[in-house]
């Protein structure tokens, strides 16, 4: 079996998701894993450590000039000419724009947002705001999937491999990227392993210092509930939930958030959830793993101190 894995990069450096999807293919038991990266990628060789047997840079693709039509054509053409049995993307803003296009080009069945290793040709994903899991059979010989972030911890198992550049022929560009604006300095929410999230219980935007301190101590990314973003207390890109972003970190702190279903829809796939709320009846306590009932303004600073102490003795 041959897996064609698309490894995303940012400013020419492979993202964590690239290692995750290669690891996913490896854990599936695929022997022949071919990773594709953009031409400007400088560390594609590292994908070999996670299980890629070959890495190709596709001539003409640039991580700063995304064009779903041109990229999808290149990936699909490559898969056809290298007899790919499965094409794997990460379920990111790039993967989502590509996977469907590639599936149509290849006449392949597709499952997007896969959240576990497949059993044969059966692939599962979470649906109905995390209230159920659906299992699909992909019937076509060639298959396309996109894998949710944080599904597979990338595990280095081998050696770096040589990277070759492949020219698949020029395609007419369909989209011109004018500008990319990024919030610098923090791990983007969908990729974060630890997230500290706060809601209306914070009372006022000026109180966010305690949330930022805790996040800093943990090396976490901050998030918020929707009313907090709507009120302009926090930037929109921090809004998680049904109408915001869906995340699945290893550890999610919900501080002064009631736990409405629309909020839970975006976070209840987190591995471990800690709830801090003064209301013992807050619905979030039903969705959490660890709970602290009390005033967040007292609890959060104490927690930050405890985390700092822990980090000092464990590093």
């Amino acid at each position: 079996m041959t897996a064609i894995v698309f490894g995303e990069s940012q400013k020419g450096i492979c993202k964590k998701s690239a290692f995750e999807v290669v690891s996913f293919a490896h854990q599936m038991g695929v022997q022949d894993i071919i990773a594709l990266v953009t031409e400007d990628t400088t560390n594609g060789d590292v994908l070999g450590q996670y299980g890629a047997s070959k890495v190709y840079k596709i001539k003409g693709l640039d991580s700063g000039a995304f064009d779903s039509k041109v990229w999808a054509k290149a990936i699909a053409d490559f898969s056809s000419s290298h007899n790919g049995n499965i094409v794997i993307f990460s379920h990111s803003s790039f993967g989502k724009s590509l996977a469907g296009r590639v599936a149509v080009r290849l006449g392949a069945g597709i499952v997007s947002g896969v959240n576990a290793l497949p059993e044969g040709d059966l692939f599962s994903k979470s649906v109905f705001s995390g209230k159920a899991t659906i299992k699909y059979q992909i019937k076509s010989a060639t298959k396309v999937i996109s894998v949710m972030g944080n599904t597979m911890k990338p595990i280095a198992i081998g050696q770096s491999v040589a990277v070759e550049t492949i020219d698949l022929g020029a395609a007419q560009s369909s989209t011109k990227v004018l500008e990319i604006k990024r919030v610098e300095g923090t791990v983007p929410l969908p990729e974060a392993e630890i997230v500290v999230s706060a809601g209306r219980g914070l009372k006022d935007p000026s109180n966010w210092g305690i949330i930022e301190d805790l996040a800093k101590a943990l090396g976490a990314t901050t998030a918020c509930s929707r009313p907090v973003a709507d009120a302009g207390w926090r930037p929109h890109h921090e809004h998680v939930g049904q109408t915001g972003i869906a995340i699945r970190p290893n550890l999610y702190f919900a501080i002064g958030i009631s736990g409405a279903i629309q909020h839970l829809a975006g976070v209840n796939n987190s591995k471990t959830i800690v709830v801090i709320n003064k209301d013992p009846e807050a619905p979030f306590f039903k969705a959490g793993d660890y709970g602290v009932c009390g005033d967040l303004f007292e609890i959060v600073p104490k927690l930050t101190e405890a985390v700092k102490k822990f980090k000092e003795t464990h590093s």
């Binding site: 779903s68 997007s112 649906v127 995390g130 159920a132 990227v177 604006k181 550890l251 009390g294 927690l303």
Partner: protein, 246 residues
């Protein structure tokens, strides 16, 4: 400007979810269905706003059985000019995208807007498929869309930021939060919707490439472990030693 907006129905998020037929099928008995919020609040409203600025026609299209007509009427009440229903159960995204593409290919739409995802199955697939069937440029997760002559300038959400790009019309866009402000249908809109055309189109043959095997409900969370608010060292210890996440 001839604009196509794809609308879908989805259970209300607060709906109780259950399955039937040995957990092979979703049980829709007693479930309240709504128009998918991304389609209603953002895709449809932005299409109507563009039409209001530059003139044109907004077609709302749904692939579904006759039970979706209430949702289609709502789209007309909000301001779509006409509606189309492709008379088939939308079994999977590729089937649905194929049906929409077959309908749209001869209609000369300048712009096609879909929602970023349905809130029940969260596929986020259909826009990309439709674009590929129609051989058009596609940008997903648009939080802003403006037209400049025959070009669309789109800002889309990417991990940790935004990407702004320019593409030629016709193109396909998927709508995310921020693209427009929700509009509530008013009495006049509801009355006018009654006289707007709704065309029913029969589907084209297509062999699905995936099949649903069944649903499982995750085991109920074991009850939460409460920690003394005065002992945050204990919480840190549990996170490190028991949950192994620190």
């Amino acid at each position: 400007m001839n604009i196509l907006v794809c609308i879908s129905k989805t259970p209300d998020t607060t709906a109780k979810i259950s399955f039937k037929n040995d957990s092979k099928e979703f049980n829709s008995d007693g479930v309240q269905f709504i128009m998918n919020p991304y389609d209603e609040w953002y895709a449809l409203v932005r299409a109507i706003e563009i039409k209001e600025q530059v003139g044109g026609n907004v077609v709302a299209l749904n692939v579904g059985g006759s039970d979706t007509e209430a949702i289609i009427r709502k789209a007309l009440a909000i301001g779509a000019d006409e509606a189309v229903r492709i008379n088939a159960e939308p079994t999977d995204s590729m089937f649905t995208a194929f049906q929409i593409a077959e309908y749209a290919k001869s209609k000369g739409f300048d712009l096609i807007i879909v929602g970023k995802e349905t809130i029940d199955y969260n596929g986020s697939e259909l826009g990309a498929m439709l674009a590929e069937y129609l051989d058009l440029p596609y940008v997903s997760y648009a939080s802003s869309l403006t037209l400049d002559g025959s070009k669309a300038i789109v800002q889309r959400d990417i991990e940790g930021g935004v990407e702004i790009s320019e593409l030629n019309l016709p193109c396909v866009i998927s709508a995310a939060k921020g693209l427009a402000e929700q509009r509530i249908p008013n009495m006049k809109g509801i009355m006018m919707a009654k006289s707007k055309p709704l065309t029913v189109v029969e589907p084209v043959g297509f062999e699905s490439k995936i099949q649903t095997i069944g649903f499982t409900v995750p085991p109920a969370k074991s009850s939460i472990k409460m920690v003394d608010p005065n002992d945050m060292d204990e919480l840190v210890r549990l996170l490190s030693e028991e949950a192994k996440v620190l």
